[in-house]
Amino acid sequence: MFFLIMRRLGLAVVTIFIISLIVFFGVEALPGDAATAYLGQLATDESLKALREEFGLNTPPLERYVNWLGDLVRGDLGDSLSRRKPVTELIGNRFRNTAVLAAAATIFAVPIAIVLGVIAGLTRDKWPDITVSLVAIISMTLPGFVIATVLIYIFAIRLDWFPAVTLIPSDAPISQLLPNIVLPIITLTFVMVAHILRLVRTNMIDVMLSDYVQMARLKGVPMIKIVFQHALPNAMLPTINIIALTIAWLVGGVAIVETIFNYPGIGSLMIHGITDKDLPLIQGIAIILAAIFIVINLIADLLSLFLNPRLRTERGH
């Protein structure tokens, strides 16, 4: 058991290391360098030289990578080209804001998705399932920004309940953030629920058809007990991974939603960075987001290890 945990942790570290390789050298592989990207059309020989001097872009890539990695480990993400400030400073409170958004969406989405998924799975092909599945399909097929736009249309424009766009700065206290958060949360919740729900439904259907559920029925166990004691624990096991995957998707997908609502979070910073072609900023954000993804997956892995008796014990069949 201990070895299993150690192994997983080790793998996570290795993966983060590889991500750093991809992030750094992937960018290196693209034509030009941070300077040409940033200056773009405005590049002249002098301005390129000046920028490169300032940001130490003249040193060979391997040396830069090692320095970058070293800085990373110490918590220094480098400096942004466009703002001339350390990346960590720019991220600042935005991280907190995005975290609040993501956490809130998750807290809503996961229980709703599980409950709806279980209901849909149990009433397969009957009207509760059909309604739920239909809504899920529609949510899945509309891109986040479309859902956001529709929500804005209904709630901000027509009903005027919430503001369409956030007008407060990134370091505002959370209480000020709250009314601006509602529509983004609803948008994200929609998308997350749709994905988790489909898989919970499939798992539920599979489990209800399994031999051991049939056996429980033939033992005379009443249906409610079967659902809660025999079916759900088994249906939930693969769901943990799905939930982790969806949360991790959130890490990336939140960017568009933040852009639409002009919400001061990491996602919108990322988009700005890309628009500005600010490579160090982009790299810094990329590695942070990816690391978060890995950590979430690790937690999910360990959780399923803990909850699945088959994985916990030494001997398997």
Binding site: Y212, K219, G220, P222, P233, N234, P309, T313
Partner: protein, 678 residues
């Protein structure tokens, strides 16, 4: 005087297929079971026995419906009950012991809890009392250390242990009737014997009625008071167990009993041509197309039940009177014909001191210096002669599959020497020259898995032809495919079929044809008949014998079924935990002196004779790995000499010369002989 406990009257069950056609599963089934009686329900795959068993619990697979008739259990109509009422009967009055115990236990719940659940459903008692009852049940099913066992999860138990847990669960509600659907599938011979004796003892003690569903005639003979034989959804004969085995009245019963390999009679039995029809599709008797007693009336009019004796013995046949005139036991002796073929002196495959292990030490193991576990197979020395059929016999863990996979090159041996003619077989198949690959072919157990479902038969047979005979043209290959199919007694039109459109026996024949397409010297058969229906096995064995005669092919045949081995083998190797116990001709092995393990195996085999009693000489505790020193069988051997057998590897004893019979045991041969002849 005895009330009728279960009364099934004219039950018909069917379902509508994708195209909207009505398919019968059961047709006009009538049966009665008395309290305390064990009914054996026998039939081959597709006859509907499982459906009948489930229907007894009021359970129908989704899509199936009752088309007519009824099931009355203790006076209640099972299909008229509400869901609540059914729930209260199930587990309480009537309990099911399913086929696959492992899959029927909820993986996330400890086994003790699942049994307690069954107890509390049927009796209003406190948790502590329920727990004590649960532990009692676990001891009753002879599981060691009940307290420890009850805390385990299903996947931590062996197959036999899981099956016992399921029996305990079924007994929890103190049911009046048990239904068992092939409960010993997937279990070893010795485990199966133990579980059957357990069941017999329990039902005798508790007075429970039992319906035991199986295709295995030996099991049915041991366990039943009465037997009902099913064919194509109907009951064709219903008789006391001794009567149906001694003098069967229905031609199908006769045919079936004549087609199973027997431990005591050498030779390949007859096989019944054709296959069962879909129930309800034929106007007359369902068995008529395959029956040697059939006349015109049989194809036009379905027969009714006739009473042969007051036992009661019922049979559904127009001509049963003709059938019972011939003496069955004499007929049996005539049926079994010994296989005759030439065996040459020169060796085909020689193995010496082969050691095979699955474990490969990783970096962490090397660092932590974990001791290497014992090899899966060790000390394997054997010479297989050209043209002979050598059987490798053993239970799970015996290493027989491992050895065959190593000979074919799928696995590599750790050390030792394997030769075929002048070539080295120690290399893996990727490194062997193509001609060597051609000479050694492998046929697998399950034709469902060994034929690619996306290829037609033509493509399946084409592969070896293209690989080994690249000079053949397309037309030549096509000709050859048709030839091969005819050789395995399949029509040339099968070329265009997909595996999903063929029966099990037909698929296995295609697998055989594929192996012989290479024109091999040696064919390795890994339990090739185990997954087939009883009546089809004989045909496949016969086919293999036939093919062997043509080119003097050498067979290495893996089997766990000692009766099948008796039918076809020339020599036999008995394996336990990857070590050889004894080697000899089939006559030598099947008569004393036996190695203690062979004796245990022989004792546990269930023969289709109601008067035979199995001898349970050793417990069925599973072995995780071979012992590090001494005799492989030391932990379970009833004749184990303490200190000696545990520490010293038993020496070889030869009966006559190094090439003849040999056995590996500390006990001298003459002592074993004296002991076992009594």
């Amino acid at each position: 005087m005895n009330d009728i406990f279960v009364n099934i009257e004219n039950l018909s069950i069917g379902y509508f297929n994708k195209r909207g056609m009505l398919i019968h599963v059961l047709k006009n089934v009538s049966l009665q079971i008395k309290p305390g009686e064990t009914l054996g329900l026998v039939g081959e795959s597709g006859c509907g026995k499982s459906t009948l068993g489930q229907a007894m619990m009021g359970y129908l697979r989704s899509g199936s419906r009752v088309l007519g008739g009824s099931i009355h259990f203790s006076g209640q109509d099972m299909f008229a009950l509400s869901v609540r009422q059914l729930e209260s009967i199930r587990g309480n009055k009537i309990a099911l012991i399913p086929q696959n115990a492992g899959k029927s236990l909820t993986p996330t719940m400890r086994v003790g809890k699942q049994i307690i659940e069954a107890i509390q459903l049927n009796a209003d008692i406190s948790k502590d009392l329920a727990k004590r009852q649960m532990l009692d049940l676990l001891s009753k099913v002879r599981l060691p250390h009940p307290e420890v066992m009850s805390e385990r999860y299903p996947h931590e138990l062996s197959g036999g242990q899981q099956q016992r847990v399921v029996v305990a669960m079924a007994l929890a509600g103190k049911p009046e009737m048990l239904i068992l659907d092939e409960p010993t599938t997937g279990l070893d011979v010795t485990t199966q014997a133990h579980i059957l004796e357990l069941l017999r003892d329990i039902v005798t003690e508790l007075g429970t009625a039992m319906m035991y569903i199986s295709h295995d005639l030996g099991v049915i003979a041991r366990v039943s008071h009465r037997v009902a034989l099913m064919y194509a959804g109907e009951i064709v004969e219903d008789a006391p167990v001794t009567e149906i085995f001694r003098s069967p009245a229905h031609p199908y019963a006769r045919g079936l009993l004549e087609s199973i390999p027997r431990l005591t009679l050498a030779g390949i039995p007859n096989s019944m041509p054709g296959q069962p029809p879909i129930p309800g599709t034929l106007p007359g008797c369902s068995f008529a197309p395959r029956c040697s007693f059939a006349t015109d009336i049989c194809s036009s009019e379905p027969p009714e039940f006739d009473t042969i004796s007051q036992a009661p013995h019922l049979v559904r046949c127009h001509h049963w009177k003709k059938v019972v005139t011939t003496d069955f036991s004499q007929e049996l002796v005539r049926v079994y014909q010994a296989v005759e073929h030439k065996i040459e002196e020169d060796p085909a495959i020689e193995l010496s001191d082969v050691e095979i292990t699955y474990h490969r030490p990783g970096l962490i193991d090397r660092l932590s210096r974990t001791p290497t576990p014992t090899a899966t197979v060790s000390d394997f020395t054997l010479t297989v002669r050209r043209g002979e059929t050598l059987a490798l016999v053993g239970e799970s863990g015996s290493g027989k599959s491992t050895i065959v996979k190593t000979i074919s090159g799928l696995l590599s041996a750790k050390s030792g020497c394997i030769r075929f003619a002048a070539c080295d077989l120690m290399v893996k198949v990727d490194d062997r020259p193509m001609d060597l690959c051609r000479q050694v072919q492998l046929i697998f157990q399950n034709p469902d898995a060994s034929l690619n479902p996306r290829h037609t038969v033509a493509e399946i047979l084409d592969q070896p032809l293209k690989l080994y005979f690249p000079k053949m043209t397309r037309d030549e290959r096509r000709e050859r495919q048709i030839e091969l199919l005819e050789r395995v007694r399949l029509d040339g039109r099968y070329r265009l079929r997909y595996p999903g459109q063929m029966s099990g026996g037909e698929k296995q024949r295609v697998a055989i044809a594929r192996a012989f397409a290479a024109e091999p010297e040696v064919v390795l058969c890994d339990e090739v008949t185990s997954a087939l229906d009883v009546s089809v096995q004989a045909a496949v064995l016969d086919l293999l014998a036939d093919l062997q005669k043509e080119r003097n092919t050498t067979y290495i045949y893996i089997a766990h079924d000692l009766a099948v081995v008796r039918a076809i083998a020339d020599r036999v190797v008995v394996l336990y935990q990857g070590r050889i116990c004894e080697v000899g001709t089939v006559d030598e092995i099947y008569s004393p002196p036996y190695h203690p393990y062979t004796e245990t195996l022989m004792g546990a085999v269930l023969v289709p004779d109601p008067d035979a009693k199995p001898k349970l000489l050793a417990s069925d505790t599973p072995e995780l790995s071979p012992p590090a020193q001494g005799c492989a069988f030391q932990r379970r051997c009833p004749k184990c000499i303490p200190n000696l057998c545990v520490t010293v590897t038993p020496p070889w004893q030869y009966a006559h010369g190094v090439d003849g019979y040999k056995i590996r045991c500390h006990i001298p041969l003459h002592e074993l002989l004296v002991d076992q002849v009594n």
